[in-house]
Point group: C2
Chain length 145, copies 2
Amino acid sequence: MQTLAILTQVLKKNKVRITTIRKALLMILLTRTKPMSVYDFQKRLQHEGIDAHKVTLYRDIELLCTLGIMREVSFTDGFRRYELEEDHHHHAVCTACKEVFEINDQALEKAVFSLERRTKKRYHFASLSHNLEFLGVCTRCFKHS
Amino acid sequence: MQTLAILTQVLKKNKVRITTIRKALLMILLTRTKPMSVYDFQKRLQHEGIDAHKVTLYRDIELLCTLGIMREVSFTDGFRRYELEEDHHHHAVCTACKEVFEINDQALEKAVFSLERRTKKRYHFASLSHNLEFLGVCTRCFKHS
DNA sequence: TTGCAATATGCAACTGAGTTGCATATAATA
DNA sequence: TATTATATGCAACTCAGTTGCATATTGCAA
């Protein structure tokens, strides 16, 4: 379990300044579990009275990724999203409302990692990671259609 | 197994004109198995002496998708790619050379579909499809690095 | 085979996510 | 609190994909 103190420590160790925006980004990461796009972060910050330029967000997010604090979660809808490095989840995206549902299923996680190992061996890939997303229509959107 | 005759029949039935570009697109789909981006199609057509504008390709590809002839295969690198509807495969993408390797593994396909059914039930999604891609470094790129 | 109408194509100009160079503002250190 | 290196913002860019409209081509009927 990460805390703000642990994360700011990482910044300090790397001689990276702890600015208002960066601290706010870390707080958001700690309180949100769903992957967030740059625009999600921007809106959330605005809500807290912080106006951050998108360029800054892109740069800070890239920084936090290289420091191993957050990771990019790839989706196929054209928006890059990010989450705390410690969460590795798969997601189900509702194609109607674009909501991202986090899938919490140990058996699924295990199965996917075993598929990854299998594929790495069969196709002689030096390193391998994966993206798995489910696309569908959530209950709520289904009822309203 | 699809043939050019079957596919042009589909166009005719839908009162859609069979133009040089469309016929060439179908031929390419029939002889290629890997998913192709719009720019892949454009290069391939140029090679056969056909200069097609990207706008035309986007529109024709969309048309062929709605006719059920091709399908979009989503990747997370920002390029949409397309393949014949009958192929449903998963892919391994080399992050170095961007080559797409088709994965032909019956056991993997079965496993993934079972994960899909499982997830649909657990999360009450009305309909569900999935994207699974593996990302890594292929043998050739690994040797050259 | 030709002429006509409907459809396909190309062009130019646009959208929107993400990027880059540079000037200004701010955090950390002495 | 002054200094200086780093962070932020701005403007202008890139590039995949989209849209409106003018022109070219296809399929059909005569």
